[in-house]
Symmetry: C2
Subunit: 195 residues, 2 copies
């Protein structure tokens, strides 16, 4: 099987992925932003997230910055910014900010060290917690703690559920596909004696 064919096939066969931009700032003050499709919920007590860093691909600047500063932000990608979001995966030199080469805008909040993406409708401030080396293929599984979440009250249902289609957040299919999503239904907590 051809190497690119296999990369597309395996990358898309596990299902839809989250579509986020991780933003950081280097110790020299260079801002960095890069698209990540592997961010996932890890637990709510304490509020933890996890994501995978590939060994050989672009966002090593992200890794260096979040290790140095201990801080990063997660910013949802919406439909009107998918082209710019995807373009952050281009391999820019370390001293070039992706913010200067896209229409994405850095914004600072509450003296948090890392920039947020102003255009994102859901923005999350995180601190670096730990990392696990995945020896099978050289990936790193990064653990982060959520410090603050910035979003409109309108996106949150009474029980805390964030209805992501109200925020116009997209999902990623494979390496390069961006998809729009709409909620079908929610179900109550399942018990064995339910009909």
């Amino acid at each position: 099987m051809d190497s690119r064919f296999r990369a597309h096939l395996v990358n898309s066969c596990t299902g839809y992925k989250s579509a986020n931009l991780i933003a950081t700032k280097s110790e020299n003050g260079i801002e960095n932003v890069a698209v990540f499709s592997s961010i996932t919920h890890l637990g709510s007590h304490p509020p933890l997230i996890g994501f995978v860093l590939r060994p050989t691909t672009v966002p090593r600047n992200t890794y260096e910055n979040l290790k140095q500063s201990g801080k990063f932000t997660i910013n949802h990608i919406q439909e009107n910014m998918i082209e710019d979001a995807h373009h952050t995966s281009a391999k820019y030199p370390k001293d070039v900010s992706e913010f200067d080469n896209t229409s994405l805008t850095p914004v600072y909040r509450d003296k948090f060290q890392a920039p947020f993406v102003a255009e994102s409708t859901i923005q999350i401030a995180c601190s670096y917690v730990n990392e696990y080396d995945i020896k099978e293929n050289g990936c790193i599984f990064i653990i982060g703690a959520i410090e603050s979440i910035y979003l409109l009250d309108d996106f949150i249902n009474e029980d805390g559920f964030v209805q992501l289609d109200k925020a116009a957040s997209v999902s990623i299919n494979g390496l390069d596909g961006y998809a729009s999503v709409s909620l079908i239904n929610r179900f109550k907590y399942a018990r064995p004696n339910d009909e």
Copy 2:
């Protein structure tokens, strides 16, 4: 913040998740199937996937079975099966199969030990590779290797990209929301000098 409110908020704020059923078979021949929203691509050479097992929640039968047998299947959830898929998260006793309490049907392929979900339009045979204990909250990050993928040729583009909306696969929002998805666009590999 109320504990359930926080669970919903944190679980939904990281974005859309994959919607899959993992199916296994115990050494006593009891089939097990459970919904998982954390399965993600980990690498394509070798083809690896990862997912998170919560310490205290339902799918411990899944863990015991895949450790014993070394085999499991990943089966995409489609819109017409979301209610049954969600119901697999109910806490059944170990000797009760979720297949007997939903309309989901087990099917065997090519002498693979674990059952597939017949209704799923994308089915993946996997073997257990390794696990990493996430000491921050007691989760386990499981690494699996893809052995075979069963899907219609129609779902696969010429370059290997699996267009998931052709398979009618859904995405999960938070703990209990199921969402339909449609591809907006794909973008070419990004380079710094792109317009």
